[in-house]
Subunit: 203 residues, 2 copies
Amino acid sequence: MTARTPSLTPTLTPGSVPAPARRPRADAVRNRALIVETARTVFTARGSDASLEEIARGAGVGIGTLYRHFPTRDDLVAAVFRERIDELQALGEQLLASDAPGEALATWLHEQLVQAATCRGLAAEAMLTMLGQHDEPSPCESMRQAGAALLARAQAAGDVREGVEIDDLVRMVQAVSLAAEESDDPGSAERLFGFLLDGVRAR
Amino acid sequence: MTARTPSLTPTLTPGSVPAPARRPRADAVRNRALIVETARTVFTARGSDASLEEIARGAGVGIGTLYRHFPTRDDLVAAVFRERIDELQALGEQLLASDAPGEALATWLHEQLVQAATCRGLAAEAMLTMLGQHDEPSPCESMRQAGAALLARAQAAGDVREGVEIDDLVRMVQAVSLAAEESDDPGSAERLFGFLLDGVRAR
DNA sequence: ACCTGAACACCGTTCAAGT
DNA sequence: ACCTGAACACCGTTCAAGT
């Protein structure tokens, strides 16, 4: 969000290495991990608008340290869900080996639904935000491509209709999760998910 | 949210009128309307987490006046969307006269989609919140019943499959709107809405 | 009865001073 | 290089004092 001063100065000599890639200090590594872990706990307990101060306090670090590692709130949220994104990517690549393309896609999307519910809907919000910024080769982008491959295969097999895009599907699953969250009916999410699948199925 | 002191004192005599139902002061009525109108404008411009102070300032009243009329933020949001809810109810009742039950439901749901996009997704959030609290005979509850009648008719005509509930449908439409909001593809909402309709159609 | 705005609490964010 | 926490800004919410 915040614009940073461009670091590319004209004094950069042609042969110079772009980034020194120093190894970070051990306490910094530990603090970073502690903050992420605490954030996960606090987000689960308090929801998406938990206080950053509470997270810093819980991790036993100063608020400045939290900001040093995660300049924006989104950066922290992204770090919290990084593992889940990687898991979804791995699952997607695994499912490409399945011999039932339609079912494989459904399984992957259902896992998206399960993940979306973590941290009281924060996971779903984070996913929607991340899907909006598919510029650089981010972990989310890799996950997206795994899903796209599953979808293409399901379409080629005639299981899913044409015109459906992977972003639509993933977005819809997050939306289903968000919409079902406030419902008093516990089966709501699964039922809505079923409608979604039926809607994209080839007929 | 905040618990209030119970006002029901034992001195209440059996024959006493429960509420005097006084006519409110003219300036109070005007202020209330001004606050709601300003809130709509500010929510549209700044999104769902607009400052209440800005709304009060824009309406030309003290912050205390805003709180007097709307004890919680949700109360103000509900007031902002009250008219839309009433419109949806009226439209639903009108559409019951149509001779194409499936199409009538689709038209009503599409109007839900259009409404959901107002105030940068705040309308969708508000609708989801309101659907969660269907206790008293609220305006939202009347709207819900109009939709339920449309759905029942579409199901009786064999246009929509059984097992679908009106809350599911309305929630899904809000979900579609929320999911499409952050997308860079402008046709996203309509495409997802189309999938939703196909998913609930009888086959 | 209603309005006002000062007062308090809480949180986000920055930054000078430390190690 | 990294950490700390005081300092500042901003907003939500309440309430005593006004009309």
